[in-house]
């Protein structure tokens, strides 16, 4: 029971790192970033490279988000920036094209085989919790998810930059009139979201390895998370991650064949009552 709960929290931690960025980008840019999962995958692969080059795990947690985030800002300012005025369909399609390019690029660079990463030595092995042995690394992922969630929340609520971001999310034209540099906010938020996804990828790699197709796997789950939680809401991402994490973990435990179905059933049930998600607002 405790073990299942911890598994659910681990999964929720990873899902939060991905879905928070997805939700943030939607809130600020009004774009659903289909390529977001690929940034997660890129994070895992770059994590593999960083660990291979430096021989240690910790540098990857810092370097990879920076690299993925920088790449994100470059991509935003070279493609998405030009089509914000179009109907949302075009932005979705553009990010779909970007996802194809990035995914195939990773395939070219790393080849088709999965790349495993070892967790750092002192996170290997298990911790004794009462009668239960639980992998230390998974506890670290839970903690990482919690720390990032708290950091993102504090940043958005308590800092001046967070205030500007929330203003742009609420009404970008008004924020523009009041002197916020909306274009820059968009670029930086996109980059920050990609960095979070990259961090999620690094954190996931020791558990799942880095493999092709992990991007789409996670983006579909992250879509379900933000649909449940409500797009554009960080609190919604947290709640959604916990719900999806729980549904998948207990689903896989009690009804292994139909775990996916349970996740969608939960989503369907929530959407009957709140079509815009738990924490979202009606369009």
């Amino acid at each position: 029971m405790v073990e299942q709960l911890l598994n659910a929290l681990t999964l929720a931690g990873l899902l939060f790192l991905v879905s928070a960025g997805l939700s943030l980008v939607f809130g600020i840019l009004r774009v659903v970033n289909f390529a977001h999962g690929v940034f997660y995958m890129l994070g895992a692969y770059l994590g593999f490279t960083t660990v291979a080059l430096s021989g240690a795990f910790w540098p990857a947690l810092v370097v990879v988000p920076l690299v993925v985030g920088t790449l994100g800002t470059l991509i935003e300012s070279s493609t998405l920036r030009f089509i914000y005025r179009r109907p949302p369909l075009y932005q979705l399609l553009l990010t779909f094209g970007l996802a194809l390019i990035l995914e195939e690029g990773i395939r070219i660079l790393y080849g088709p085989t999965a790349k495993g990463i070892d967790p750092p030595a002192y996170l290997e092995g298990a911790v004794r919790l009462g009668s239960l042995q639980y992998p230390r690394y998974r506890l670290f992922v839970v903690a990482l998810g919690l720390v990032v969630a708290a950091a993102v929340w504090l940043f958005l609520r308590k800092t001046r930059a967070g205030l500007v971001i929330r203003a742009v999310a609420q009404n970008s034209e008004m924020a523009d009139c009041l002197g916020a540099d909306v274009a820059r906010v968009r670029t930086l938020v996109f980059g920050a979201a990609c960095a979070l996804a990259g961090l999620g990828g690094v954190a996931a790699a020791p558990m799942t390895t880095a493999y092709l197709g992990m991007g789409i796997g996670v983006i579909v789950d992250a879509f379900v998370v933000v649909v449940i939680g409500g797009l554009g809401s960080i609190g919604g991402s947290m709640a959604g991650s916990l719900i999806v994490g729980a549904a998948q973990t207990w689903g896989a435990f009690y009804l292994p064949e139909t775990a996916m179905v349970i996740m969608y059933a939960v989503m369907g049930a929530i959407l009957i009552f709140r079509p815009w998600g738990l924490f979202g607002e009606p369009e």
């Binding site: 089509i83 179009r86 979705l92 970007l98 879509f223 179905v261 969608y264 815009w276």
Partner: protein
């Protein structure tokens, strides 16, 4: 004769004589192109005319393919019966999914359709007894046109069946978008709030067009299974839904003919590139990104704009 009419007459003539001009491989490629064209055409009804982006349209193509494959393998009826089965199953499944998904709008709609499609994909993947799991169903026969009628086993005969289905579907879809119902769809696309404030409820319209599009996608899938001889989970995968969106956009949103052309161009690019490199996806992706940024009207939309300017 107007230029548009002359073009359609030329296209029909080309379709009619193609089997005598094209080599065996080319004819099979053309049949393929037409089937994908029908899939893209069906997607244009919801995407181009109603402004709803479905990210799970491949599911209905897949349902059609599985239904047709199972019916043909177990009962070996004439092919049109299998086509009917595929179209009906796709429509029947689209009804509850559409009822759900059309509660949401915009991006939520896209995500819901994606989630439901992934769900159906998972079912096709896991239900080994019925669908053969990841292997799919192989050995789907091309039977006759009707009981005791001519066989469709020859490439030429099957090509004509596919071409007839595509032309007929195009005519029907055109009738749909030009009907009052179709006008209502376009009104919803242009301004859903205004549509509502005029006293109409958009949801029944959206649900209806969602089901109609699924029926045509199911028909395309039902043609696909006997043509290729198999049905497998790949045809339900999200990648194929995404490719459908790419085909529609490349050809021209809301033009019906455009998506058919878009599908042809898309598959041809893939066909040509894949003979040079296994990494053709990266180039397709790049072409697509450039088109989204610079040619939002697609091939047909851009051609029309150029002609209007000339």
């Amino acid at each position: 004769m107007s230029p548009a009419r002359a073009l359609s007459a030329a296209a029909l003539a080309a379709l009619a004589i193609a089997p005598w001009v094209a080599a065996r491989y080319q004819l099979s490629l053309l049949t393929d192109l037409l089937i994908y064209g029908l899939f893209a055409l069906s997607l244009d009804l919801i995407m181009g005319y109603t402004g709803m982006v479905s990210f799970g349209h491949a599911a209905y193509f897949g349902l059609g393919a599985y239904a047709s494959a199972l019916v043909l393998i177990h009962f070996a009826p004439p092919v049109p019966v299998a086509l009917l089965a595929g179209a009906l199953l796709a429509g029947a499944v689209a009804l509850p999914i559409g009822w759900f998904s059309t509660r949401a709008t915009g991006i939520y709609f896209a995500m819901l359709t994606l989630a439901f499609a992934q769900l159906l994909y998972t079912v096709a993947y896991k239900w080994r007894d019925l669908t053969g799991g990841s292997d799919g169903i192989a050995g789907v026969p091309k039977t006759d046109l009707f009981w005791g009628g001519p066989s469709l086993a020859s490439p030429r005969a099957f090509y004509f069946l596919v071409a007839a289905c595509v032309v007929l579907s195009l005519v029907l879809c055109r009738a749909v978008v030009r009907s009052p119902f179709g006008r209502a769809l376009q009104a919803i696309r242009e301004n859903e709030r205004r549509f509502t404030s005029l006293g109409r409820d958009p949801r029944p319209f959206k649900l209806a067009v969602f089901v109609i599009a699924a029926v045509f996608a199911g028909l395309a899938g039902a043609l696909f299974a006997p043509f290729r001889g198999f049905a497998s989970p790949e045809v339900m995968f999200w990648v194929f839904s995404g490719q459908g969106l790419m085909m529609v956009l490349m050809g021209g949103l809301g033009t019906l003919v455009g998506p058919i052309l878009g599908a042809m161009v898309f598959i041809l690019i893939q066909e040509v590139l894949s003979s040079y490199t296994e990494h053709w996806m990266i180039f397709t992706g790049a072409v697509f990104v450039l088109m989204v940024i610079f040619l939002p009207g697609g091939l047909v939309g851009t051609a029309r704009r150029l002609r209007a300017r000339a």
